[in-house]
Symmetry: C2
Subunit: 334 residues, 2 copies
DNA sequence: CTGAAAGCGCTTACAG
DNA sequence: CTGAAAGCGCTTACAG
């Protein structure tokens, strides 16, 4: 099974490879009608398919981008990827997806491999712990876009949710609904991931703005497995919070598991609002109040900026940091 | 910003390109110690990164596979992809992900483009409507694995859930719990997608096996937007079903939405069991009984078979169709 | 133990 | 309007 190449087509059609190449690339400007039809026939007859690897080598571009997320199993990542893929497909780009699992070693390995594969650009949810590597890419003006997390001081286009606003929306809604004892639970902040830190800040600011003191024992951050025990601690306080902001989908789900196990009633025993509009929010009993982030919009914009960077268009965004607006979905859990 | 190539390294180290290539590919057999160190230094000094595109062209393999799913937003696809990606990563392969959206035109475009990009193999959830194209790949012995859906009569390795068993598990569980009036709702079967048809068959067989007549008005298939009205029809029957098998996650969610809107009580007004173990199954009130399919296992196996096909290993599975076992997760909705 | 040469399948100035 | 030639950055027999 020998693959048919451009030479075979050229022979069959009695023209040179150059001419076939022109035809393939639709540069018909000076091409004779019969030449065209002869080539077309030869292509059809031989079932010729161009080899993009050869083309990429010559043109020094692959029309492929790499996307490195933390974990494709998170709905935010899935939506991001879908939006990126759709946008790229429209522009005849392909996307290679990788999961770095918040592991800087994996992240570096993927970045190196993708670049060795000559991807034209990279969209990454950065672990934040490969600074030298990021800087190197910046120095080489390699097309790069960060999503969800900033890396301080790096001139890289970065798309983020307005995280402070997300948690303040949640808190202000809770306050407006009459709550004052409001807690927040986030995923672990040992690596200082910006969204988590910012969500805590937004929470504090909203409380202060309404003259409510920040109570440190109402703020917990923990790995998924420890969420439930953190919750237990917080709810065992002599004066436990009456409402909780759950800073992402995973934390929300762990909390829901705990609430179910302990037979608590939402919102009477505990009001909750989650950040991330989980798929089942409106089906749940009671329906869950959430703060949604525009994951599709962010994915589309990330792809759009990256492709502009790749084509060195002048219309590229000026601003390095782009913040996206969260929206409150008021349902029945608050 | 000129990229440094193998020639540059060769010059710097005062050896030939061939020798650098040997070094890069770890063929040290006859290499002098000082040659090695000279090359190593040159590589480090110049920051040389090999160009895989050039290598791929020469070696006629890209260490990349394509994965075409219906829609990455479905949890089954996400889990499948994650498992494939993990397996491939372990074996130094990359994966390009595409969403065909059950559209044969998109499917064909993706397959053509991925092959033009010289992917070494393809894992696809086939739409079933590009028969000629599939046959062509089979003729060329192009490494190919199907997941989730068979295409009749094609000698292609195909991994599927034992769909009949999945729905009979659900039905038998319902019967054992004392139900007799059992309905089933599936996604649209206009395109005769095998899993949907098989799930209906399994449902019928389980009923017959237990001496219960099949009632055609207890069987509905519809597009997502029509699920709720189908449900309404079925539940408005003079003698409506008391229990429902929901044939996938989407149908389940539509049903849950309807149940919530109509203020029905699960399982008293209606018992339900869903196929696909949705993320929130155990959190829900009441916790949802489901039939789970081993998506990760299926993804891993698909990748494993594909890589065997690619390396033309003799250990490749003999059987073309591999069925995976569903498992019943008994919770509180039945 | 190492190098010169050919070639993978294209594209792209340039010549005619 | 079309073709000959060089070259993209590697790998791989083969020679020495």
């Amino acid at each position: 099974m020998k693959r048919v190449t451009m030479s075979d087509v050229a022979n069959e059609a009695n023209v040179s490879k150059s001419t076939v190449s022109q035809y393939i690339n639709k540069r018909y400007d000076y091409m004779g009608e019969d030449t065209k039809t002869r080539i077309e026939q030869a292509i059809r007859q031989l079932g010729y398919q161009p080899n993009y690897v050869a083309r990429s080598l010559k043109q020094k571009k692959t029309s492929t981008i790499g996307v490195i997320v933390a974990n494709i199993l998170h709905s935010f990542s899935t939506q991001l990827i879908r939006a990126i893929e759709d946008f790229c497909h429209e522009h005849d780009f392909h996307v290679i997806v990788c999961n770095a699992d918040d592991d800087p070693v994996k992240e570096k390995k993927y970045i190196d491999m993708l670049r060795a594969k000559q991807v034209d650009g990279l969209i990454v949810v950065p672990t934040g712990r490969n600074i030298t590597l990021y800087e190197q890419m910046v120095d080489e003006t390699f097309p790069l876009v960060f999503v969800d997390r900033v890396v301080e001081g790096l001139p890289v286009h970065t798309l983020m949710l307005d995280n402070e606003k997300a948690s303040s929306l949640a808190v202000e809604h809770l306050i407006a609904s009459g709550y004052e004892d409001i807690g927040i639970i986030t995923a672990s902040i040992v690596n200082h991931l910006p969204p988590r830190v910012e969500r805590i800040n937004g929470y504090k600011q909203a409380l202060l703005k309404h003259g409510i003191d920040v109570n440190q024992s109402y703020i917990k951050s923990a790995e998924p497995v420890y969420i439930q025990s953190s919750l237990k601690d917080m709810l065992s306080l002599s004066k436990p919070p009456k409402a909780l902001v759950l800073a992402n989908d995973l934390v929300l789900m762990e909390t829901l598991a705990y609430i179910k196990e302990e037979n608590l009633t939402i919102p009477d025993d505990l009001a909750i609002v989650g950040i991330d509009d989980v798929s089942f929010a409106s089906l749940f009993n009671p329906a869950l109040t959430t703060v949604a982030q525009p994951a599709f919009e962010m994915g589309k914009k990330a792809a759009c900026i990256l492709l502009q960077l790749i084509s060195q268009s002048d219309e590229t965004e000026q601003e390095y940091i782009l913040r996206f607006e969260p929206t409150l979905k008021h349902r029945q859990s608050t």
